[in-house]
Amino acid sequence: MKTKGIVITCLALITGMVILSGPVCAAAEQKAALKLGVNLDTTGYAAWLGEPELQAIQLFAEQINAKGGIDGHPLELVIYDNESNPEKSSGIAKKLIQRDKVSAMIATAITATSNAAKPVSQEEKVPMYSLSGSYEPNYPDSFSFATWVHTSGMIETIYDYFVKKGIKRVAVLCATDSTGQTWFDEANKAARKYGIEIAGERFNVKDMDVTPQLAKLKAGNPQALIVGVSGAPNAVVAKNFNQMGFKIPYVTGHGNISDTFLKLMEGNEPDTLLLPGAYYIVAKELPDSYPQKKIIREFNEAFQKKFKKEPDIYAVVAYDAARVIAEAMKQVKPQGPGDNIKLRDAIEKIRNFPAIYGGTYTFSKEDHRGIKKEAALMIQVKGGKFVMAK
């Protein structure tokens, strides 16, 4: 009897899990729905990115459907969680395209999972929109798009600032994951152009201690440290950095602009904590004449109303990605498989589309990011807030 009970409980649990992990559909039947796949890292170590991104996409779908959809076609989201796991991300991309027949996907929050979805998107010729700043969407016949100013643009923003401050010797500490790899490569590449001297070290995102790496870097007497990692590992690096008595500016990636990061660093902030980031972050400091100020305010209010919290930059890029795709869908209204290619071409034709991120999106065959370093500036953490760096 007892074993039977256990078996039944297990079955119930498994069934529950299957139902929960399945697609969450939301649409009303009028004109045929336009399907947008969402493959996001809503659990796992990148969950803090995936969660607000998903919320923003859901908000966008709700808003556009409340206004009658895309020319009468409701926008239907098909949502899966990839658990920050590249293998899962690749499987989900297949499922979205082959089973759910989506015409485009928003996939994913970080480079590792985006890279895993890429071959599927390429092979099936279904556009994917990555929300990772380090993901590279520009290559021949690309079906990938990406939000954010590219890491290379962000590093140039940092180096522009260093040049202004007379900083020439820079230590770089990057994670061994793919975000860290991109930072490492781009920081080295751009350094030559700017005449900046680089000493580099690597660390694992699960490391509990990076003092050996920092001790090695310290030997080069650097004037600033760039930490190429997103999220929690920054707390470990910052703690070690302070313990070892570093006084130089601590610069980390734009992937860290969030309240979670501020909370994480609370009590461990280095003296000067800098990040490159979008104009959106410092929207409050922008003059009313800044062209995107109105749409920024509207988005902030709507998000606040629905989720009872301030949106962060990740919500913004996800919302922007959904806006861009919807804009292209307005031209194409994809129904069949062949329409996916038309949808990609429609995105490539978008010009001067205002970005809530800051700046504007102008895509082309060669530029699938559509946004340049002009949308970014250096930001400093001061008193637990992000402000324009002086």
Partner: protein, 294 residues
């Protein structure tokens, strides 16, 4: 230049001892449970995570003073270990090794899931036990917390040695490990020692998590990697050997930090595990276990 070389070396060694102490604590907890029950407890890393999380909640959430929060967290996680044994492991009628391993793996996922529900996905951090920001030694500077980490390992090692060598309870527990049948014939209640071993395993894992939390940070899935490294330490030192767990943990920690410092930070994990393989090939019973023990 030489003073810089010295300060670097000191920095590497202390970093290695710090993470090594944590691996050693996880390995100790692992060995205690293994010795009495022959269960390879893959959920040991989760005890580590639960200890830190519980302490942080009690201290920052319930505003309990730190020593009390630590004491309670140790008790709570020890009890979690006991409950885990009672409701997951003991009900098995015919426990096979494979089944037990799968069960503890399931337990590990279960604990992670529960931690995700309770503490969410964001990382948590604890204040350092002492106010001092950093201490300097031979030109290297580090957090005073690492003295706590290393000191705690020393204390736990001493207490365990005393318990197993000098107290009747400890000797009875060793008897259970050597030969459960003979021990029970001599009037030792083996079942209650299984309970004690799970309590100790949970508690020691929890202490490891608590002392490292102020240096590092804690997320719901933080225990997995530490559990793996702790397991590797136990294997390296010789499964079931307490001195082996300590030596294995410290050696693994030092290997990691020295290979980072002197060879390359990219190959840190690889080098540590390559050395582990080499040791196991040369001395399959582990560093601290004589083959005639078998």
């Amino acid at each position: 230049m030489t003073s810089q070389t010295v300060s670097q070396a000191v920095q590497f060694i202390f970093a290695g001892l710090t993470s090594g102490s944590i691996y050693a604590m996880v390995a100790l907890g692992f060995n205690i449970i293994y010795n009495v029950t022959r269960v390879v407890n893959l959920a040991q890393g989760e005890f580590f995570m639960l200890g830190a999380m519980t302490m942080i909640s009690l201290h920052t959430g319930f505003k309990l003073p730190l020593p009390l929060a630590m004491f309670l967290a140790t008790l709570i996680v020890g009890c979690v270990g006991v409950v885990f044994d009672r409701f997951a492991i003991r009900p098995l009628k015919k426990p096979s090794i494979m089944l037990l391993i799968l069960l503890t793996l399931g337990g590990s996922t279960f604990f992670k899931g529960v931690a995700l529900l309770i503490w969410g996905k964001s990382p948590h951090s604890a204040p350092t036990f002492m106010k001092a920001k950093s201490i300097s030694f031979l030109g290297a500077s580090f957090s005073p917390q690492i003295l706590w980490v290393i000191g705690t390992l020393a204390l736990i090692s001493f207490v365990l040695w005393f318990f197993f060598e000098r107290t009747l309870l400890g000797k009875a527990m060793r008897a259970c490990a050597e030969n459960p049948r003979a021990a029970s014939l001599m009037g030792v209640n083996v079942k209650s020692f299984v309970t004690i071993s799970f309590f100790l395993g949970g508690a020691i894992g929890a202490v490891g998590g608590m002392v490292i939390a102020p240096i590092s940070f804690m997320v719901y899935d933080e225990g997995t990697m530490v559990g793996l490294k702790g397991f590797a330490s136990a294997v390296m030192g010789g499964v079931g050997s307490y001195p082996g767990a300590v030596v294995g943990g410290l050696v693994l920690g030092l290997l990691e930090s020295l290979s980072t410092g002197y060879i390359s930070s990219i190959f840190k994990d690889i080098l540590a595990f390559v050395v582990l393989l080499v040791i196991l090939v040369l001395k399959p019973s582990g560093l601290m276990r004589r083959t005639d023990d078998e």
